[in-house]
């Protein structure tokens, strides 16, 4: 796959899905602790998101890093915008900034579940 085609494919995925997680493995079966942590947060918060398994597509695996200028997986996107990797998403979850982002972008999630995560990590 050429870089251009891979980038078109990424843009297409980001256009069609409000929340996208590029990860190692799938949301049902993550294959890396960092991917697992972010998928776990989104699953627990009941967010409707598309998961893209980069281990299943070497072209996308490299292209997504160039696309976001970010060298690691996972990568979370909301409404086409790169939000961050595992550490940033974790910090944002615990600070409540992820809730604010979802609120601002009109993304549905379970507020109680988010509070539960924060209470458990307080």
């Amino acid at each position: 796959m050429t870089t251009t085609i891979a980038h078109d494919q990424i843009r297409d995925t980001l256009t069609k899905n409000d929340v996208v997680l590029y990860m190692k493995g799938t949301k049902a079966m993550p294959q890396c602790g960092f991917s697992s942590r972010v998928a776990g947060v989104l699953n627990f918060m009941g967010v409707d998101y598309a998961d893209v398994n980069v281990l299943a597509d070497e072209g996308i695996r490299q292209a997504i890093k160039d696309f976001s200028d970010w060298p690691t997986i996972p990568q979370l996107y909301v409404k086409g915008e790169f939000v961050g990797g595992c550490d940033i998403v974790t910090e944002m979850t615990l600070s409540g900034e992820l809730d604010q982002l979802f609120d601002a972008k009109g993304i549905g999630y379970n507020k109680d579940a988010a509070e539960q995560i924060r209470a458990a990590n307080a």
């Binding site: 970010w70 060298p71 939000v83 550490d87």
Partner: protein, 78 residues
Amino acid sequence: MPITAEEIEILIRESFPGARVEVQGDDGAHFAAFVEDESFRGMNRVQQQRAVYAALKGKMDGAQGELHALALTTKAPE
């Protein structure tokens, strides 16, 4: 080739000479780094972490990247 926490710290310090840097991890692949630098002021977290990744000069990249896992915490001084 495995990398050490010390080498990571040296790479980060080259780019952020005045920063407070702490790197932990001794298994050659999984590390945690904390970087606090004045240059981060006004940057969001993505921009801050991009800057640290840039300092690591591609060591995060690819399946053969020496650094499989780097938990990163960045901030500007309070």
